[in-house]
């Protein structure tokens, strides 16, 4: 491995925030000046680096490859004899790239200033405020306390799987009399006795309880079933009277 390759390998593509960041790094490393830099030089450096990264099977974001293509095109046009118009075009795009680099470099510097501010102000703590001590009960809302993002998140939450299903699905329909009677038919074999709540299940919801209760009343009316309740709200004991229940009869 040549010294150059070793140098290239030591830098990791993950450390860069994109092709501009990488370009700036290469320019600084080789002590070139952003303003007067020769595009062919940078292009070579950049392409070499990208090739190294590819050889290492690193995942290279598309932006890096677009930049590589741009640099290659600029370089080739400069080396080949081309028409004057094309030449000017290339000079223009080089100039634009350099301006872009200067701009990006400035923002990078600002970002690092902000990083400094962040590290100071992370160590600053404000008192929690004394609203709880003083707040009045009847109060109005103030602008800007809820952000648009809250609104969007609310929309998003409605689509989450844990969101309650629509109203019409929550209320299970009452079971039909026939359905309940046939279920009870199975639940009360022979002349066994059984508690109402046990028969339909402790966790049955209101709709189910009501449906079965109506069915029991119907069966009692027909004399096919007797019920006993020792005191109000106590469990109801059911006992089968008739062997065959023929609802349509």
């Amino acid at each position: 491995m040549s010294a150059d390759i070793q140098k290239a390998c030591r830098i990791n593509i993950e450390d860069f925030e994109g092709p501009l960041d990488l370009l700036l790094f290469l320019i600084r490393r080789d002590e070139l000046d952003v303003i007067t830099i020769h595009v062919a030089e940078v292009a070579d450096q950049y392409l070499k680096y990208i090739r190294e990264a590819e050889d290492l099977n690193l995942d290279i974001a598309g932006e890096y490859l677009v930049m590589a293509a741009t640099l290659t095109r600029m370089k080739s046009r400069m080396l080949l004899p081309v028409e004057r118009a094309l030449m000017e075009d290339t000079e223009d795009s080089m100039e634009t790239l350099m301006r872009h680099l200067v701009l990006y470099k400035a923002f990078k510097e600002v970002a690092s200033d902000l990083r400094e501010n962040e590290s100071i102000w992370r160590d600053v703590f404000a008192p929690p405020g004394e609203r709880a001590r003083y707040e009045e009960d009847i109060t109005e809302i103030d602008s800007g306390q809820t952000s648009l993002l809250d609104l969007l998140i609310a929309l998003e939450n409605m689509t989450e799987k844990n969101a309650p299903p629509p109203l019409h699905r929550i209320h299970k329909p009452l079971l039909s009399l026939t359905e309940c009677v046939s279920a009870l038919d199975n639940l009360l074999p022979g002349n066994a006795t059984r508690h109402f709540r046990d028969a339909i299940g402790e966790n049955a919801d209101q709709a189910i309880v009501v449906s079965f209760f109506v069915a029991v009343l119907e069966l009692v009316k027909r004399g096919w079933l007797t019920t006993e309740q020792s005191y109000p709200f106590a469990n109801i004991t059911m006992k089968r009277k008739e062997e065959r229940w023929e609802m349509n009869a």
Binding site: F125, A126, P127, P128, E130, R131, R133, Y134, E135, E136, T139, E140, I141, D142, S143, G144, Q145, T146, S147, L148, L149, D150, L151, L152, I153, A154, L155, E156, N157, M158, T159, A163, P164, P165, P166, L167, H168, R169, I170
Partner: protein, 198 residues
């Protein structure tokens, strides 16, 4: 002039969200119970000799620094009239449906949200974030609701078209494509009408 230990404790008592116990103070500053107690006394003395607006309150087994109750007449005004609380989730959901569907009926809102939205809608009406815009010409002629200019102001929008579109929300909210599709169909008229007809 406060010494370093007293300064550290003062900082804790100012910044804390709930009273700090003596043992917590000792744990965080690495001092003993007695030194901590004495430091609190020094803080109190320094605050009072400087004529400061705060006092050390001994509450619920702990300490914290709060404004002197005799300044309540000034401090209370800070919190008068305005509530900085955010809208509840129910209100936000309701508002979101109305904003994107307007004009919308209560039934349409409830079809999307899947729950009764009476009280959320009342709150939004009271807070002037939604208004009645007319009646739908369908059986029962239900009331139609839309958002108000207060709504725009509240969310810092200059007009309704500035509400992010559904496709933009995908970028904003990391939603799966499936979620977006479902939401979009839920918010489009046909689906809601079908739900109601059922």
């Amino acid at each position: 002039m406060l010494d370093q230990l007293a300064r550290q404790i003062e900082a804790l008592l100012v910044a804390t969200e709930s009273p700090v116990t003596l043992s917590r103070i000792c744990e965080l500053t690495g001092c003993g119970t007695e030194s901590a107690e004495q430091a609190v006394v020094r803080i109190e003395a320094e605050l009072s000799s400087g004529g400061h607006a705060v006092v050390v309150a001994r509450l619920a087994g702990g300490y914290r620094i709060v404004t002197d109750p005799d300044l309540g007449f000034i401090v209370g005004q800070l919190f008068e009239g305005k509530r900085h609380s955010r809208l509840s989730r129910a209100s936000l959901e309701t508002l979101a449906v109305i904003a994107y569907r307007q004009p919308a009926t209560r039934a349409q809102v409830e079809a999307v949200r899947g729950v009764n939205s009476d009280s959320a809608m009342r709150t939004l009406l009271e807070r002037d974030l939604i208004k009645i815009t007319g009646r739908q010409e369908t059986p029962g002629r239900p009331l139609l609701y839309g958002t108000t200019s207060r709504f725009l102001e509240y969310f810092g929008l200059s007009n309704l078209e500035h509400l992010p579109r559904m496709d933009e929300m995908e970028n904003l909210l990391k939603l799966s494509a499936q979620d977006i599709e479902r939401m979009a169909s839920e918010l489009s008229g046909e689906e809601i009408d079908q739900t109601i007809q059922r």
